[in-house]
């Protein structure tokens, strides 16, 4: 009985943790779903950057969206060590700049 209670507590704990992580992430992307203009700008910018840099769209997940810029975490998806690099993409010029600057 004690063991079962522990398992249930862990289950709810995991659910709350997942909800928290995804809620924060979804909040950062809310403009994608609430503003069609921003959504189209994001799509155009990502396609332009992917074309220019030779990147794949699936290698550049969006982390944050504002009305002026987006944040992506670019990863090449190769085997072995494969670090993520954070970039800002300006929605008007499609220019990219590293987040660390």
């Amino acid at each position: 009985m004690f063991l079962q209670k522990q398992f249930w507590n862990s289950f709810w704990g995991i659910c709350i943790l997942i909800a928290f992580i995804f809620a924060v992430h979804a909040w950062n992307l809310r403009l994608l779903y609430t503003d069609p203009t921003v959504r189209n700008q994001v799509k155009t910018s990502m396609e332009a950057v992917a074309e220019r840099e030779g990147w794949l769209i699936s290698d550049m997940p969006v982390r944050k969206v504002t009305r002026d810029w987006i944040v992506i975490h670019y990863r090449r998806h190769v085997r072995g060590p494969d670090p993520k690099t954070c970039y800002y993409i300006a929605l008007d010029t499609h220019a990219i700049s590293p987040c660390s600057l």
Binding site: F22, A26, E51, I57, S58, V62, H77, V78
Partner: protein, 400 residues
């Protein structure tokens, strides 16, 4: 006891064989997506775990053996589901599972549908063990959360999960919470991954353009592969005779999903439903030996006559690069799958004339996308065209 150990070893040998067959056939785009944890279309749980091992030399083979073992060793769950049957019927049901066309064709592939099928069979097994459900209702909650975060098609099994929760010792409000919360979490995850949202729309539109007769024929083919005909009929009859509406409702959901998604690898989703239907107490199997023999013949015929996905050029290009002893960026002009990312020794990028100098290989897929100016550029940059591949392949010539 010895017989049981020998059976486990024999089944494991079978699993390794199927894994090696698919290893020989090469990694495909969806498989590479999971092995490299590329963030679409499915939720992250399984692909994240697989992605943790992408530095292993034999990563692909390891996961192929793991997937195949899960699917094949599931036969023990089938045997337990039929524990009240005669020994002959029990063995027949196990044989029906092992000679399902979908299992023969898909054991050893690295598809999420395979894992969903294993989870679905586990769910059906728990339904056949009411005392376990009453005592360990947490297992249903954990399985439901896990099913949803492995693949979206886990939602198709919602009627069975609800039935399992009803059979548990949980109060109605707790049952409802356990059922709904993982679905909300999945919806929340989907909002965080715009690529998943876009690819879901793509899957929904796969059958667009096909007329009703084509969709029906495709779904019938999957139904046939999913149970090799014999199990397909026995399972469906079992669900109807036993009035097992949760099982039948799930069957209908899987059927609709197969019709809409238009992908052959979803055939495996039928298999656990059919075996659960055939294992129901009211579904007696007359002349089990005959049914098993017929199942074996149909299963083997399906295995022999349904073609496997065509080989990608990527593996041959990798071998050519290894032979030449060079590694570096590969440029691809045209459409390509994620297997290129998995197999190439360096990064894979879209073709850009300004980057040709830094590349070790240029692929034009399909042949003809590269025009005369591209050919001239590659000639001048020290590339040599390798004939005999499906695509146009240019590899940097080491000897000037």
């Amino acid at each position: 006891m010895l017989a049981r150990i020998l059976t486990i070893v024999g089944l494991q040998g079978f699993a390794v064989l199927t894994a090696m067959l698919h290893q020989h056939l090469g990694v495909h785009t969806d498989e590479a997506k999971y092995l490299l944890n590329i963030p679409y279309p499915h939720p992250p749980l399984m692909r994240w775990i697989m992605g943790l091992t992408d530095g292993w030399q034999h990563q692909e083979l390891f996961w192929r053996i793991f997937f195949a073992s899960c699917l094949i060793q599931c036969v023990w769950l089938v045997a337990d589901m039929a524990r009240n049957r005669t020994r002959e019927e029990r063995l027949t049901l196990c044989g029906l599972w092992l000679f399902t066309g979908a299992l023969l064709l898909q054991a050893g592939t690295l598809m999420m549908a395979t894992i969903t099928a294993v989870e679905a069979l586990f769910l059906c097994w728990m339904l056949a063990r009411p005392e376990l459900l009453r005592k360990w209702s947490i297992l249903i909650a954990a399985l439901w959360l896990e099913m949803l975060f492995v693949a979206y098609q886990g939602t198709l099994f919602a009627p069975l999960v609800w039935l399992a929760l009803q059979k548990s010792n949980l109060s109605f409000s707790k049952r409802l919470t356990v059922f709904v919360v993982p679905i909300i979490l999945l919806a929340l995850y989907t909002l965080t991954n715009p690529l998943a949202v876009a690819s879901l729309g793509l899957v929904g539109g796969m059958g667009r353009g096909a007329d009703v007769s084509e969709i029906l024929l495709h779904t019938f083919k999957l139904w046939l592969i999913g149970g090799s005909g014999v199990l397909s009929i026995l399972g469906l009859l079992g669900m109807i005779r036993h009035r097992h509406w949760a099982l039948f409702g799930t069957f209908l959901l899987v059927t609709i999903y197969c019709g809409v998604s238009y992908r052959e690898y979803y055939a495996i989703l039928f298999a656990p439903l059919f075996i659960a239907g055939a294992a129901l107490p009211s579904q007696k199997i007359a002349s089990p030996a005959f049914h098993l023999a017929l199942q074996m013949v149909i299963g083997v015929l399906l295995f022999l006559y349904i073609p496997f996905a065509p080989l990608s050029t990527a593996r041959a290009v990798r071998a050519a690069l290894d032979d030449a002893g060079i590694a570096g960026p590969v440029l691809i002009n045209g459409s390509f799958g994620h297997e290129w990312q998995y197999l190439m020794p360096g990064p894979v990028r879209k073709y850009n004339r300004e980057e040709v100098d830094s590349a070790v290989a240029v692929i034009c897929s399909p042949p003809g996308v590269c025009v005369e100016a591209d050919h001239r550029l590659m000639d001048e940059s020290g590339f040599r065209m390798y004939p005999g591949y499906g695509d146009e392949v240019w590899i940097r010539n080491q000897i000037p």
